[in-house]
């Protein structure tokens, strides 16, 4: 056998093993996509199908016995829409505050000529690893600041987030050359003017990343609301959702005059619809802004 023949045979063997590898991998990938998407797809078709068919397990691929009763009921639930409004408000204000406090700190900590840089960094990073815990935080907020059941408790106390600071600082470290500050300084530009007129316009990418993270975080959170809010008219969407989905508030109050099982099915229809209504904004927005999210994670992956 000549040398050429031998390499040729090796190449054929390699191509064959690569083909098998590809087949297995793509099959697995398709399976994973189905596993990831099907539950969400099911929620959507179940929300417009006849609840009796859903309960019997007849609805698996396509909606049947199409009904909009669930959505009709949802639109008449005023607490859901109050929650929606509250969440939009908390998300807008909360995101603005988060940007306003975290981005400047991140920039300042990226400055090598800052006296006390290590100390300030420690000040902001330490709470990532150690904290007072739920009860002391609750007592301080309640007894000292009297913030229980106010608008501000939802947007202010937990707005400094060490992780955002680290990610943004890494961005500033790698994307703002020292020469830029040197040049600005020679031209007589002070720190504040430099930050607001030069740094911020150059950092739209990281601002978008942090803004999106913060917005999703606010939209999806229920914990702080559950701990610190008392009056239902301040409840954010997720807390209303908890009452509908977990505490089963619907099944007790929903359509009257039918057997328990029937009430339960109608309540499920409303639950499926509520899931769609509450998750729609983020799910539809996500594919368009996903590149910012990924960018953020990747910036965070670089070591500051």
């Amino acid at each position: 056998m000549t040398m050429a023949q031998k390499t040729n045979r090796n190449r054929v063997r390699r191509l064959r093993s690569d083909f098998v590898f590809d087949c297995v991998m793509y099959a697995l990938a398709v399976l994973l996509v189905i596993v990831a998407l099907y539950p969400m797809y099911f929620i959507v078709i179940a929300s417009i199908s006849d609840p009796n068919l859903v309960a019997r397990g007849d609805i698996l691929l396509l909606p049947k016995g199409i009904t909009l009763a669930g959505y009709r009921h949802l639109f008449s639930m005023s607490n859901l829409w109050t929650g929606y409004g509250n969440t939009i408000l908390y998300t807008l204000v909360g995101t603005m505050i988060m940007l306003g406090v975290n981005i400047p700190v991140a920039y300042v900590l990226s400055r090598k000529d800052l006296v006390g840089r290590r100390l300030f960094t420690l000040f902001f990073i330490f709470p990532m690893f150690f904290g007072g815990g739920l009860i002391p935080t609750f007592i301080i907020l309640n007894n000292w600041f009297h913030m229980l059941d106010t608008f501000w408790v939802m947007v202010l106390p937990f707005s400094v987030i060490a992780y955002y600071i680290i990610v943004a600082r890494t961005f500033f470290n790698t994307s703002l050359p020292q020469e830029l500050w040197d040049a600005a300084q020679i031209d007589g530009c002070g720190n504040l003017r430099y930050f607001f007129t030069i740094v911020l316009p150059l950092s739209k990418a990281i601002i978008a990343v942090i803004a999106l993270w913060a917005a999703v975080g606010h939209w999806n959170s229920y914990f702080n609301a559950m701990i610190y809010l008392r009056s239902p008219e301040r409840y954010p969407l997720q807390l209303v959702m908890r009452n509908i989905l977990i505490n089963n508030e619907m099944a007790a109050a929903a359509m009257t005059g039918s057997a328990a099982a029937e009430v339960n099915r109608q309540a499920n229809l409303i639950k499926y619809g509520a899931i769609v209504v509450s998750s729609l904004p983020i799910m539809t927005m996500y594919p368009f802004v996903q590149k910012y999210f990924n960018q953020g994670v990747m910036i965070g992956a670089l070591k500051g």
């Binding site: 690569d18 998407l37 539950p39 150690f130 815990g133 739920l134 009860i135 007592i139 600041f145 999806n220």
Partner: protein, 309 residues
């Protein structure tokens, strides 16, 4: 010598004064952090006191280690710790390797559009809120109308009431967690893989490596530093399982395996108003976490050059 020292101190002072704007920029964050993060750290002393709201944090009488002893000797101690550890270690065992696996797969895909689609669809569940996620779990697992018991019965498996089964709780928690976050967690590894020098692959092809071998000898070694860093971070929080999801999935039937430290702290503190007792449990938990993080970090530093600090 003294002169030099004074001069350098002066210099520092000048540098501080010149950069006053920078300090100003940090003021809002510092105030918020002191008020709402560092003051609660001071508030943690209520764990050593008989805290009564009327007497305030400082005014309440000292209790010493009474509340710690009470927790250590209560039957909930071993219960909560066992449940926390089971859920946490199970979660790490499943959700730590899977993203690596997914990233390796993603890196092998050459059909660009499919790759994009694959990424978007595996990331998507990450954006479902905890409340909605738990609502979905409960709906899907419902014995009377859920889709999963229906699918299982089609292939002849009787599941029964999964949410009411204490033995199933940790599996439900962990695998839904995997469903939701594995795709998203793989981004970090995909980023690390995209930094691989293409020449390495070319060289491997010249040497006759097939795809499997390229993955085994190039991709996997490339991921190890990222994996170690993430592993340190994860194992530092082995004693802290997220409150939010466990609390929502809890019910009277599965409480035996779903009562973890953080849910117990919440119930003791804010539902039964035993502030000091609950703060003591929380503090104990935090200290254990902190010590764990430092230990793992030390070990990692000894073994290789990867460490957090």
């Amino acid at each position: 010598m003294a002169l030099m020292k004074r001069q350098s101190r002066n210099l520092t002072w000048i540098r501080i004064k010149r950069n006053w704007g920078l300090y100003l920029l940090m003021v809002p964050a510092i105030i918020i952090f002191i008020c709402f993060t560092y003051l609660p750290m001071y508030g943690v002393i209520i764990a050593f006191k008989n805290f009564k709201p009327a007497q305030g944090i400082w005014g309440s009488s000292w209790a010493g280690l009474k509340y710690f002893e009470r927790y250590f000797s209560s039957y909930m101690f071993s219960n909560t710790i066992r449940n926390t550890l089971v859920i946490s270690i199970y979660t790490i065992a499943v959700t730590f390797p899977l993203p690596i696996f997914l990233a390796l797969m993603c890196n092998q895909m050459y059909a660009r559009r499919f790759k994009k689609f694959f990424q978007v669809s595996t990331y998507l569940p990450h954006f479902i809120s905890t409340v909605v996620m738990c609502g979905m779990i409960i709906l899907f697992l419902s014995p009377s109308s859920g889709v999963i018991p229906k699918l299982c019965s089609m292939v002849g498996i009787r599941t029964g009431d999964l949410m009411g089964n204490a033995n199933a709780f940790s599996s439900i928690y962990v695998w839904t967690e995997a469903w939701q976050h594995v795709g998203w967690d793989s981004i970090m590894y995909i980023a690390a893989l995209s930094a691989v020098d293409p020449q390495l692959y070319e060289a491997a092809v010249v040497d006759g490596a097939n795809k499997w071998q390229k993955m085994r000898y190039i991709d996997i070694p490339m991921l190890i530093p990222t994996a170690v860093t993430l592993f340190i971070l994860r194992s530092g929080s082995v004693m802290s399982v997220g409150f939010e999801k466990v609390y929502l999935l809890q019910n009277d039937l599965n409480i035996a395996s779903s009562e973890i430290i953080s849910t117990y702290v919440y119930k003791m503190g804010l539902q039964s108003n035993q502030y000091s007792y609950s703060a003591a449990i929380g503090l104990f938990n935090n200290v254990v976490n902190f010590v764990l993080l430092l230990t793992v970090n030390q070990i990692a530093r000894r073994m290789g050059d990867t460490s957090l600090f």
